[in-house]
């Protein structure tokens, strides 16, 4: 018997090849000096968006639950890691080591929040889950905006709902770390594209491997039919929590990239609020729900396009909104579905069957 590559392995290889090509192209452009400062400034944020979209796709596409709090987990990762880096910047002198630790701290904090939030929330379904995750995201933002952390010779001080001047710090050695709504300024910066790209590869690999494993199958079985999954002995809560916390972990990692790429870190609706969660959802939906490749591509295109075409910026969200509605209707309405099938029928036969390939797992023949 001969071993042949299964559809999913093939699809995964294409994904990795795609990432390799992207990396090569960017490096080539940068070596030959063809990278404008605008584009090179976009590289790290694009990596961040890819991580956000791929990790949200785990919740939305693989687990089948709509979370509108992804930016909240990103916020937890950003703040916890920035605080960590601020506190340790004099202790750990090796930048890379400190950054790696910051990544782990940010990811871990976000994952812990994911579990804490997930336990009560994942019992809920559909609309309720969406609105509660949204609510949690907003709560996290409000709390972060009312937190104060400072350091002096006596140690590290923490307070809520006050101000730095009311914390009774030693004036001579006072060092502000987190100043309520003013946020954190002076986080040691790590703006390396290579590191961010490595993080993208790790995220993609972990999530693809997870999907094509026993755990991933259990998660997808819950998505397809919760009652049937329970009937074959799948612990629904356990696997939902697992998907949710892995997703939160990587949102946290993206937050770390963000906070170490932003000198003055503040939590607003645009970066850590509802708007951000929706933008990530747009990336996932327009890339194709459940398609990791799609999430990567849509992140690259949808984030860089408005920056490059400035005129487009103004209409960006309007166009995304329309695309979102059109995509959903085209994909889910029986009439339009049949219509497009008819038109693209011949075209589709030429293309590899994306859906089947993505969702099947290894078959050894």
């Amino acid at each position: 018997m001969k071993k042949t590559l299964s559809a999913s392995t093939k699809s995964n290889l294409i994904t990795y090849a795609m990432l390799a090509v992207i990396f090569a192209v960017v490096q080539l452009l940068s070596v030959t000096g063809n990278l404008s400062s605008l584009v090179s400034g976009l590289l790290v944020p694009i990596c961040m968006y890819i991580i956000l979209a791929v990790s949200l796709n785990l919740t939305v596409g693989i687990l089948g639950d709509l979370s509108l709090g992804h930016a909240g987990f990103m916020c937890v990762g950003a703040y916890s890691s920035a605080i960590f880096s601020m506190l340790t910047k004099d202790v750990i002198s090796a930048d890379l080591l400190r950054y790696v630790l910051a990544l782990l701290v940010g990811g871990a904090f976000a994952a812990i929040f994911g579990i804490l939030i997930g336990i009560p929330v994942l019992r809920l379904k559909g609309d309720y889950l969406a609105i509660v995750t949204l609510a949690f995201g907003e709560i996290i933002k409000v709390i972060v905006n009312n937190m104060y952390i400072a350091k002096d010779i006596h140690g590290v001080h923490f307070a809520m709902l006050t101000s730095i001047s009311d914390m009774g710090l030693d004036e001579g050695s006072k060092e502000v770390i987190l100043n309520g709504p003013q946020g954190i300024s002076g986080t040691p910066q790590t703006k390396s594209f290579v590191i961010a790209f490595v993080l993208v590869v790790i995220t993609v690999a972990v999530i693809l491997n997870l999907i094509n494993s026993r755990t991933g199958r259990a998660i997808m079985s819950i998505r397809d039919n919760r009652i049937a999954a329970e009937s074959v002995g799948i612990n629904v809560t356990k696997y939902k929590l697992m998907a949710f916390s892995v997703s939160a972990f990587f949102a946290g990692v993206a937050g770390v990239i963000y906070s170490h790429n932003t000198y003055a870190l503040q939590a607003t609706t645009k970066n850590f609020g509802y708007d951000m969660s929706i933008l990530i959802l747009v990336l996932v939906v327009l890339g194709g729900i459940g398609s990791i490749k799609g999430s990567i591509l849509s992140s690259i295109i949808l984030i860089s396009l408005p920056e490059i075409l400035r005129d487009f910026q103004k209409y960006r969200m309007l166009i995304y909104a329309i695309l979102l509605i059109v995509m959903m209707i085209v994909n889910n309405n029986p009439v339009t579905k049949a219509f497009f099938k008819k038109i693209f029928g011949s075209l589709k036969r030429l293309l590899p069957k994306k859906k089947a390939a993505e969702k099947s797992s290894e078959v050894t023949q």
Binding site: R214, S221, N225, I227, A228, A229, E230, S361, V363
Partner: protein, 252 residues
């Protein structure tokens, strides 16, 4: 040896007694039928046995151990697997994956070794694939292993559901109207398959069915439900001759 025993099992929905005082005893290897008119509470009995509903009174025992109060997943682990009246497959997954999910609790590796692709992952996945293909062969589905479950024809979907349930290695298999929507040829084939499953896997089977040919053809014992209560029970021929049963089915 008694596989399943229930004592006074009952449930009410907002005052309505959907199932009342349900007692059954199934021995190992038996093919037991649960019949009755529409709305008699047959599927409700299955839902009580598998933990989808919690009974308002009474207890169920599997091999003498109490299963009432457990969650559906725990009851499956304890040894009851089922199919559904309205087929519930994992429709966006392949036929093979559907069975592999049934094997979930018997072939294990940690999530970490799955993510890190440790050798144990490949070894276990290979074993799972082999076992799943064996199961599919029993039901003549090996050709379709790479299809999405939703793309299977109706009859094969029913078979896949049975294969998936069997993959969980149950002690008792519950089949909810396995012949629903099948033509006479398919039903005849299904009867063979059910008998084969019983003999090949040494399985105990409790099934709900409306097709009297299937019921009288393969069931050794029957319980008849009507309006949530037991109307008759015993060996098949005896029960089917019972005047009460005939009245319930055909009317006065």
């Amino acid at each position: 040896m008694t596989i399943l025993e229930t004592k006074n099992l009952g449930i009410s929905f907002g005052g309505l007694r959907a199932v009342d005082d349900f007692n059954i005893e199934i021995q190992k290897g038996e093919l037991y039928g649960l019949i009755g008119p529409n709305g008699a509470g047959k599927t409700t009995v299955f839902n009580l046995l598998t933990g989808v509903y919690q009974p308002t009174c009474g207890t169920a025992y599997l091999e003498g151990k109490k299963i009432t109060g457990k969650k559906p997943a725990e009851i499956n682990k304890a040894g009851i697997a089922r199919t559904f009246q309205n087929i519930r497959l994992f429709s966006n997954l392949t036929v093979l994956d559907n069975v592999k999910i049934g094997l979930h609790n018997h072939y294990k590796y940690t999530t970490a070794s799955g993510i890190l692709r440790l050798p144990f992952y490949f070894k276990t996945e290979k074993k799972m694939n082999q076992r799943a293909m064996e199961m599919l062969k029993v039901f003549g589905l090996e050709e379709e292993s790479g299809y999405l479950a939703s793309n299977l024809p109706y009859g094969k979907q029913r078979k896949l559901e049975i294969a998936r349930a069997l993959a969980t290695e149950p002690k008792l298999l519950l089949l909810d109207e396995p012949a629903a929507g099948m033509n006479p040829n398919e039903t005849a084939e299904l009867m063979k398959t059910i008998r084969f499953v019983r003999d090949h896997f040494d399985m105990t089977i409790l099934l709900i069915e409306h097709d009297m040919k299937l019921v009288s053809g393969i069931c050794e014992k029957l319980t008849v439900l009507n309006f949530g209560t037991e109307l008759a029970k015993g060996p098949t021929e005896q029960v089917l001759k019972n005047p009460d049963v005939i009245t319930a089915y055909l009317g006065e």
